[in-house]
Amino acid sequence: MEILHYTFMQNALIAGILVSLAAGIIGSLIVVNRLVFLTGGVAHSSYGGIGLAIYFGLPIFLGASLFTVATALLLAWLTFKKRHLSDTYIGLIWAVGMAIGVIFVDMTPGYNVDLMSYLFGSILAVERSDLWFMGGLLAVVLLVVHRWYREFLAISYDSDYAALRGIPTGRFYTLLLILSALTVVVAIKVVGLILVIALMTIPTHIASHRSATLYGMMMRSALLAASFTLLGLWISYRYDLTSGACIILVAAAGLVLESLWRSLRRPKSPA
């Protein structure tokens, strides 16, 4: 328990919990709306925002947030009416965003950036000010998802019918993409922009088998994500390994164990 005396460790634990809860809730909406690939694209393109922030000397969080929200808005506009073309647009934005980031980091004089910390996270470098940002985002996510739960449920389950009943589906689709973009940004510190998609989908996938409602799924995956993060963090500290990768492998192990347990419990069908 002596590890809890270090401020950086306290910050890491709080950050891990805040980000996991947001990732579990928004991750559920991403999965049921089949927007995993799109969110992956937004996550990678956020590197463009990081590069721009470094070049112009802005806070990284601010640069990345503005850039990813802009990306999300662009994708919402491009893909809402043409779902069949979304693959192409996502792939494009994925790569272009990263390319912008690399170029702007190159152009920053004397800046020797640790690229790896953005790709795979650097949870031990979380500062107090970051925690406020993460807490704020979680509060917004909780508020929005509760307040418009019925609308999100309706557009996720049957978008055409929701539109027929007068729900502005385009607006909620855009809102969902903005929330996922912001969740991705805060999760970069914890697991990095490559691994964030796993934190948003693995707990959700486990929760989906055990939930009768979307709300139950969101709450279960939030708790699962937080547990995986805490365990992964402990392993990373204990064996001196990269924290983001530990968290994701713990989650993956959880998924494998859960599937095994389910297949053993299921009565064997004859023949």
């Binding site: 739960y149 449920l153 309706a154 389950y157 049957d158 027929l164 979307l214 799924m217």
Partner: protein
């Protein structure tokens, strides 16, 4: 009052007209079957009636209003209900989707702010609607655990939840077994005592056993009143009676009827 009145309707997606010179009248409590070949304009006609598309020419009146104004009084059951079966959602959630307004009327300020749970008024409404379609005991079941026919009943309950006066169904039995199909049509027939039912179907038994009117849609529309001249299908031994033949027969018969009717009036 007429439930539906379509006058000299014309609609085209690009330049090619999909529907032209369509006239159609539906009275209250009628059970109307819409048939016709694929690509003949059935779905387009439904979209126009529901106000999703606007006609190029002509006029559509639903319950004395424009389709958009009448939207809340139209219940709709989509064609394919076998989508999203993994979705974590209960029968109750699906049914309540049909009437988002119910909540606002019955809820306290706290429930209005955080509408995750359903209150007693809503649960009671969902229960009574599900009772009408014989699915009340499935209220808390996951939608993916139901059979195709049961799921279709839930979708009908969702449409009934807002107490519509016109119920529109787009091939409601295309993905369920024969026994389930008959039950669905018997249910619709029963419902048509309280409201007007308009159903798109490829199913011959609807026309021969249940419907009051058949509307044949293929770029234009012919209406055939089955109550005045019912159709008896005599399936020849060993031969398959094809939908196309029925359509042709209906189209011819309708023209004949109109012709004779016109004569009668003049004489």
């Amino acid at each position: 009052m007429k439930v539906l009145q379509v006058e000299n309707l014309r609609f085209s997606y690009d330049r090619e007209p999909v529907l032209q010179g369509v006239n159609l009248e539906v009275e209250e409590h009628e059970f109307v079957a819409v048939i016709g070949p694929n690509g003949g304009g059935k779905s387009t006609l439904l979209k126009l009636i529901m106000g999703e598309l606007l006609p190029d020419e002509g006029k559509i009146t639903v319950l004395g209003k424009s389709p958009r104004e009448a939207r809340e009084e139209i219940g709709y059951v989509p064609q394919n209900t076998n989508v999203n079966l993994d979705f974590p959602i209960r029968v109750l959630d699906v049914v309540m989707m049909g009437n988002p307004k119910q909540h606002r009327e019955a809820a306290s300020w706290w429930e209005r702010l955080f509408p995750v749970r359903y209150n007693t008024v809503e649960r009671r409404c969902a229960y009574s609607t599900l009772e009408k379609v014989g699915m009340a005991e499935y209220l808390d079941r996951r939608i993916g655990d139901l059979s195709g026919g049961q799921r279709q009943r839930v979708m009908i309950a969702r449409a009934l939840c807002a107490h519509p006066r016109l119920l529109i169904l787009d091939e409601p039995t295309s993905s369920i077994d024969v026994q389930g199909q008959k039950q669905i049509y018997a249910l619709l027939k029963e419902l048509s005592r309280d409201l007007t039912v308009l159903v798109v179907s490829h199913d011959l038994s609807v026309i021969t056993e249940y419907a009051d009117k058949a509307v044949y849609v293929n770029r234009t529309a012919y209406t055939h009143d089955l109550r005045r001249s019912p159709i008896h299908l005599q399936q020849p031994e060993g031969e398959h009676f094809c939908e196309i033949e029925l359509m042709q027969m209906l189209a011819e018969k309708t023209c004949e009827c109109e012709h004779h009717g016109g004569k009668k009036e003049t004489s």
